[in-house]
Symmetry: C2
Subunit: 392 residues, 2 copies
């Protein structure tokens, strides 16, 4: 749909936009502008003259538009891990009499790790309760303070029913956090309509913000003024430049800012977001399903050794397809060697992301063709050691 908006190496079929999106063609020019015309020429004045100081919110609103969040409810900064910490600490404060955080084994580990660390710091006998994804609904009860889930499972691509789970959880007095890492730019999300209190996500996957692009946090508008930030940094202060000794939370979503924003990364992200001005998320979703269905059908036709690890029903899948195979790591390496880029997740998951912005049916068929050749002729190195994989 927008293939010419990206600089993808000739011959490469990139099925890993669910991990790191490719370089948009206009990113470089925009970053150069920030380096030379802003930092280089304005120096310290760039904070005001170039609008740097407002970018976490102004670019945040652009990300917010992609998840149907109203203006003033999304802010950028830090990493997704930090944003999970902020959301979780604030969510627990909204439910001070309960002691359980409920999550599932399909949540990305950093969300679970950060919960573990926060609970150790709080040290009030909370429990992080981790159940299987399909058990979540039944595990909701009045012990639970916070439900914290990743919307689309990073391994299987299975998508939770955001609205239904949020509704059930809130009816039981549970505060809800959605991690949209694999959703923003991948599937239509209506975060305000879901009524969830918090959402977080990253911008280097489907939003193509570049390696280490800043994360985002959403807070439901009506609770913004109640939220007391745990990471009370100076740029989340009501008047950062008054240099007061006591912290006073900033207005609205501004309070979820922490430290000095990463202006060069923000420039790259802002450029990448331009692409979304002329596409419709529903078209993206429709096309993503077409590509994923084609991939599943063709792979199952040619490669019976592989077992589908994603839901067969496209309505229950994000924008990725996973297959299980014992020697999946080695097969992924063989694919990469032939310029078909997917990735591997322990213990046996081969992941393929389908991003209609820069992929079409021809790419999907070409990728399957290579995979078929590898599987048929067993041209992978089964001795390939499962060393470090690549970033989620």
């Amino acid at each position: 749909m927008k293939k010419d908006h990206f600089d993808i190496p000739k011959g490469m079929i990139y099925l890993d936009g669910n991990s790191l999106g490719p370089l948009p063609s206009k990113t470089s020019e925009r970053v150069q502008k920030t380096l030379h015309d802003e930092w280089g020429k304005m120096l310290i004045k760039g904070w005001n003259q170039a609008g740097w100081m407002q970018q976490p919110s102004s670019v945040g609103d652009r990300v917010g538009a992609l998840i149907a969040a109203p203006k003033g409810t999304v802010v950028l900064g830090d990493t997704l891990t930090i944003k999970v910490y902020q959301a979780l600490a604030s969510a627990l404060e909204l439910n001070p009499d309960r002691r359980v955080i409920l999550s599932d084994s399909g949540n990305f580990p950093t969300d679970l790790y950060i919960a573990e660390g926060l609970l150790k710091t709080i040290d009030k006998g909370h429990e992080l309760r981790i159940v299987e994804p399909h058990e979540i609904s039944n595990a909701l009860n009045e012990e639970v303070a916070v439900l914290m889930l990743t919307h689309v499972d990073y391994r299987s691509g299975k998508m939770h029913d955001m609205e239904a789970l949020t509704r059930k959880a809130q009816a039981l007095g549970i505060v809800v956090i959605w991690d949209l890492a694999h959703s923003a730019g991948a599937v239509p999300v209506e975060i305000e309509k879901s009524n969830a209190e918090f959402a977080v996500g990253c911008t280097y996957k489907y939003l193509n913000g570049g390696p280490g692009a800043p994360a985002f946090i959403y807070v439901r508008a009506d609770i913004l003024e109640q939220v007391q930030p745990a990471l009370s940094g100076w740029l989340g202060h009501n008047s950062p430049f008054a240099f007061e000794q006591k912290y006073r939370p900033g207005a609205g979503i501004e309070r979820m800012r922490v430290g000095t924003p990463p202006i060069i990364q923000l420039a790259a992200l802002d450029a990448a977001l331009d692409i979304w001005d002329s596409v419709n998320m529903r078209d993206i979703r429709e096309k993503s399903i077409v590509l994923s269905e084609l991939f599943i059908r063709e792979v199952e036709k040619c490669c019976s050794q592989l077992t589908l690890a994603s839901p067969r029903n496209p309505e229950q899948r994000g924008s990725q397809v996973s297959f299980e195979f014992e020697e999946g790591y080695a097969v992924i390496q063989a694919l990469i060697a032939r310029d078909v880029i997917g990735d591997f997740r322990a213990p046996n998951i081969m992941r393929f992301g389908f991003t209609p912005l820069y992929l079409d049916e021809v790419d999907v068929l070409a990728a399957v063709h290579v995979l078929e050749d590898i599987m048929t002729n067993r041209t992978w190195d089964a001795s390939e050691f499962k060393t470090r994989a690549v970033v989620t």
Copy 2:
């Protein structure tokens, strides 16, 4: 000393490198390489092939060298505010039976705010005790768990005696954190020799890493394995790509990593650090004192309305000079309008940074000449409203 290594606009005298360093000439080329040759060509493979995954430590070691930290004790990431949180949470854990954090009114507010937020989360009756800078030594006692100070006061430029205070504090069983925001690249720091347990700092001031460049944290080598990170993110896990459900801290300083590192900002910082390969911190310091002394002498000669707010003894000053003046904000605006860039800190502090990498005596005299003209002819707009200043 290295003026040709920076792209400073012609005619500008930049005395604000203590807030945001200027653009090094080679930054742009290096960032382009990361965008095109790494992200653009390698895409997800960049994490391994381009060494992105190691950069928080490998570039961290380069920053460490500038504060005399041994390899493997400094890591980059996040913002200074987050790094303060990490250091403080870990420091408190090392001293679980005490309940006071001691700091001073010269500490940068974000350090105080983040302590306030952390203590609220911990909720065990800790006290954040803030005294005047000169009272710190006498305020050290066996109630104090952690001494947390900024080495060089962001307003006055007054420098604490790092070694003496650390020695006295540690003799009383106090864990010590130094914030080196205004020290790294400005004055010689021997962090290992100081014996302090923790240090943190930023890289966008004297290290010229660019707006929003990542922060650093140092942990003394012998306690690294004891430190249990409060912000237990997946990239601080022992085996991030095993995707385990439970957090296990990474080896050594790696555990102080949190989330996905900002690769584009790291590229800019890495380029800026090249400049330091061929300069000696003691030469920088010597020259910085020459420039600061010249500035003070000339300003006091021409502008009797201004009162020195920095220590007169250069040994007690960082690499900045501050003057007090009631209408300081307006005078700074008048200076900026004439391309002499200093900054203002409420209520009445005019700040000027002296960075020998790109400033010499001619610049200092030219700056004083403009200041003298403004003060003599009163060509500032006293009605100028004290709105937002620029970033520290």
